[in-house]
């Protein structure tokens, strides 16, 4: 187990290296640079800036500098947010994003699994169609539509919740709901399909023939097989929710890292974009590793 863990961590290094390489050259391919603005800076200052940040060196040399710094754990200073290093910006934003993300995942799992189980047990009934219809609606409405609607209802019309800001629990309610709605729908649909499939397994029939009550069949015999596909969804989904909350963070004005991703790319803030990309890459690798370990815990046939 421990050696497997070490192996997986080691094998993530080449992956990260590839991510860094592709991201580095892609952002450089984009036209413009970090110091281009509507009012051009004087030529001497521009030359000076470029010299300080090695921007006038050939690309491979810059790439070499960057790799060396990353190896030292230094993601460099932000080109746009003066007085901040990339690491500081990520460290500031990450707590916000992870709180939002984990709450949203937790909410999606609880409600999604509940709805999915109800729908599966009442397969092809009115309740099933209602739940699955709602789930379909949840998947199809994009968050940039859902967020303004909820803001309008809860913030503007009824005045129940703040429409932006950060710091208190009430600030989290709307963003977490908007983030989790499509995930709830996905989880509900997956749970339904998975449970229906599991309940058709011969070993469920064995359990019935042994005289086990439905409650025990569900909790003891069907739960693991039902949860496995949701588990494999969980890794990428957690990473995606934590990193992909850009729209939600922007709409609700939250100080997460999602906005650094977008703003960094728009501003050609090379180091910031790179830092966030590497961080996200690492997060996804970590989440997938966690999921694989959970798999072995759930399924005794999997051994590492």
């Amino acid at each position: 187990m421990l050696s497997y863990f070490a192996k997986r961590i080691a094998s993530s290094i080449p992956t990260l290296f590839i991510i860094i390489t592709i991201a580095f050259f892609m952002i450089r391919l984009a036209p413009g640079g970090p110091f281009d603005s509507e009012r051009p800076v004087p030529a001497e200052i521009a030359a000076n800036l470029e010299k300080v940040y090695h921007l006038n060196d050939p690309l491979p040399v810059q790439y070499g500098y960057y790799l060396l710094n990353v190896l030292k754990g230094d993601f460099g200073p932000s080109f746009k947010y003066h007085d901040f290093t990339v690491s500081e910006l990520i460290a500031q934003g990450f707590p916000v994003s992870i709180q939002l993300g984990l709450l949203a995942i937790l909410l999606s799992l609880m409600i999604g699994v509940l709805f999915g189980v109800i729908a599966a047990l009442r397969q092809n009934s009115a309740i099933d169609y209602l739940v699955m219809g709602l789930a379909m609606t949840g998947i199809t409405i994009p968050n940039f539509v859902m967020a303004p609607i909820l803001i309008l209802l809860f913030g503007v019309f009824w005045g129940l919740l703040p429409t932006s800001g950060w710091g208190e629990l009430k600030h989290m309610v709307l963003p977490v709901i908007v983030l989790s709605l499509p995930q709830i729908a996905t989880v509900a649909r997956m749970t339904r399909a998975s449970l229906i499939e599991t309940l058709n397994m011969p070993y469920i029939r064995t359990a019935k023939a042994k005289g086990l009550p439905t409650r025990l069949i569900l909790s003891r015999h069907a739960s693991r097989a039902t949860l496995l596909p949701i588990l494999s969804w969980l890794g990428p989904a957690t990473a995606a929710i934590i990193t992909g909350s850009v729209v939600v963070e922007t709409i609700f004005g939250l100080p997460g890292i999602g906005r650094h991703f977008i703003n960094g790319a728009l501003n050609r803030d090379y180091t910031l974009v790179m830092g966030v990309v590497v961080f996200y890459g690492f997060l996804i690798i970590l989440m997938n590793l966690l999921v694989d370990l959970l798999y072995a815990w759930l399924d005794p046939r999997i051994k590492y």
């Binding site: 397969q123 058709n200 397994m201 011969p202 070993y203 029939r205 064995t206 359990a207 019935k208 023939a209 042994k210 005289g211 086990l212 009550p213 439905t214 025990l216 003891r220 015999h221 693991r224 097989a225 759930l298 399924d299 005794p300 046939r301």
Partner: protein, 325 residues
Amino acid sequence: MMLTIENLRVDFAVDSGIQRKQTLQAVRGVSLELDQGETVAIVGESGSGKSQLFNALMGLLPPNGSAHGSVSFNQQALLNQSDKSLNKIRGKEIGMIFQDPMTALNPYLRIGKQLTEVLEVHEGANFNKESAKRRAIEMLDRVKIKDPEQRFNSYPHELSGGMRQRVVIAMALLCKPKLIIADEPTTALDVTVQTEIIRLLKDIYRQEKTSIVLITHDLPLVAGLCDRIIVMYAGKIVETGTVDEIFYEAKHPYTQALLAATPTNTEKSGKMLAIDGQPPDPLNLPAGCAFSPRCAFVEERCKTDSPPERKIDAGHLVSCFREDI
């Protein structure tokens, strides 16, 4: 009578997509009786309804299946009862052994858990974890599993197919049921393991006097184990009799054809005998006798009328018009 089945019918609602919903008649009016301590074999091809018959009375039909008729087990009605009342009988009074031991055990749970939970649900307040474990290990030993203490903590995938089937049998026996339904218990196993399993069932029958219903398509396999044989074709019983009556005095053309098609007969003649034609499409059964399209002795009336059940001897019944065969 311990088990009485009267005019049992099992239907499946089949949605074939383009067409309107159809009804598949898997079992078409089966009546049979079983005494305490009796062993009976139900023989028939795949699709003859032999498994669905017993799935129906155990309440194990899939959601699109429905059962009609009446079944009583020790004066208790079984058919279409709630899960709650069935659960007092399933696993306790009636044990079931399934066809494929590779899939009949839950791969996520230890053997011991799957065994002791039978006692857990049926003994209620009397359940004691330690004594349940002891009894489960005893039962594993009883079905001739080596190192039962270690196997108690194994997962199903750590056991061979034959071992798993022994575990399934141990599971069915734990509560000392009055009746065991074995649904093709050897079909998924190697030939050498098959005889071992049958020998084990024979031992159990001899020692516990448990009634056994053995569902199979393998006639020679049941010869040494059973008192009576019931032959089914297309959801109906075509012939019942003692083992000798069926093996040596079979009256129904289907039973005769089935006996002729066994591999032991094949060895003598040097070629594999098969019954001509295909089993009928259960959605489109022929009128009259369902075997008529494949029957060598077919007459005009066979194609229009259902043959009545005819008594040859006290326990030997056959459903065929032809009295001359």
